[in-house]
């Protein structure tokens, strides 16, 4: 397993202690955390976790996304896809670029599982991003999930990418 992924503009790698402040900046923005399930608000440096609870590295399950050395977002595919991007970096295709690289690696292994992302209703930016990547929204399930930042549960839909769909687009 490589210890990082380079894309045209970005590096996907393990988060390190020096990233805490940048991660707190991005995740401390309610416009970001209101679309995430488990990031409370307010969220500060002391809330950032760069290791799993057992002390192991979160890489490669969770990738910190760095632009010119500074973390601007995060991305995981397993067990559920989740991602965030610091607001000032929205609209430049960074998450599309990071997700493509991550999905390419995921689907390169034999028997790779489908990737599923839950999206709270109203998060059109993420819906568009997933559609561009080939994800298809599952039949409406009526599922709801708790959003820590808002302190309430919200309707959520799963979006799924199968290996067949990914390979057809690649």
């Amino acid at each position: 397993m490589t210890d990082h992924i380079e894309t045209e503009r970005l590096t996907l790698r393990a988060a390190v202690p020096a990233d805490v402040e940048a991660m707190a900046e991005g995740l401390g923005d309610f416009e970001v955390s209101k679309w995430l399930a488990r990031v409370p608000h307010p969220f500060g440096a002391k809330d950032v976790r760069i290791l799993n609870d057992d002390g192991s590295s979160t890489w490669p399950d969770y990738a910190a996304i760095a632009l010119e050395g500074r973390v601007i977002g995060g991305l995981r595919l397993i067990p559920q896809m989740g991602f965030w991007l610091t607001r000032k970096h929205w609209g430049h295709g960074y998450m599309t670029e990071a997700a493509r690289a991550s999905l390419r690696r995921h689907f390169a292994s034999a028997g790779a599982r489908d990737v599923v992302a839950g999206v709270f209703h109203g998060n059109t930016a993420s819906e568009h991003l997933l559609a561009r990547l080939g994800f298809v929204r599952d039949e409406a399930s009526g599922r709801r999930e708790f959003c820590a930042a808002r302190g309430m549960d919200l309707p959520i839909s799963d979006h799924r990418l199968t290996s067949i769909k990914w390979e057809a687009r690649a």
Partner: protein, 183 residues
């Protein structure tokens, strides 16, 4: 801000109405009570003081859902209630309620709000069945739902992960003929 034309529903003490802009300040004032948030499935360790943005987002979410009402008692906001997953073909929906004011718990107001909305769901919307799920440790809610006429229909084992612990969800159902109607 309001997309849907929601009727105002009255009980003896509660009023169910659409959210409005002035609810933001009231939602902010109600704050986040860890013990209450835990009943919604929040990890109490992750509950923070409410912020103005979160209060506004809460009110907007009520307005954005077709079948969500805020609950008002004595002119003040105490929580919200809604139907979701409404299926007209099978005449059924899910119902969910959240009371946010710790001073208003234990007075039968949630039970009354459920009775008011269930009456609307059956008599006006023509539904036949309401489903509901509740975390197994939420005994106050379970007892309230049973007063409304809900019956326990099942248990989804370890359906909710809160912090690092799994909890069961109880599945309840109410048929139109079993609703305990308000006098």
């Amino acid at each position: 801000m309001n997309t849907f034309d929601k009727p105002v529903l009255h009980g003896p003490r509660v009023i169910l109405r659409d959210a409005r802009a002035t609810d933001v300040a009231e939602r902010y004032a109600l704050g986040n009570t860890p013990e209450i948030q835990a009943m919604f499935g929040a990890d109490p360790a992750q509950v923070r003081e409410i912020t103005p943005e979160a209060a506004e987002a809460w009110v907007q979410s009520q307005a954005a859902e077709q079948y969500a009402w805020v609950i008002e008692v004595d002119g003040g906001l105490i929580g919200a209630i809604r139907l979701h997953t409404v299926n007209h073909a099978y005449k059924r929906a899910q119902i969910a309620i959240g009371l946010l004011d710790p001073a208003r718990l234990g007075q039968g107001l949630g039970t009354e709000a459920m009775q008011v909305l269930a009456t609307h769901a059956f008599d006006t919307m023509g539904l036949h069945r309401l489903g509901c799920r509740v975390l197994s440790f939420n005994e106050r809610a379970l007892s309230s739902y049973q007063k409304v006429g809900f019956e326990l229909e099942g248990r989804e084992r370890e359906a909710a992960l809160i912090g690092t612990e799994w909890h069961d969800d109880l599945i309840l159902g109410l048929l139109d003929r079993d609703l305990v109607r308000l006098p």
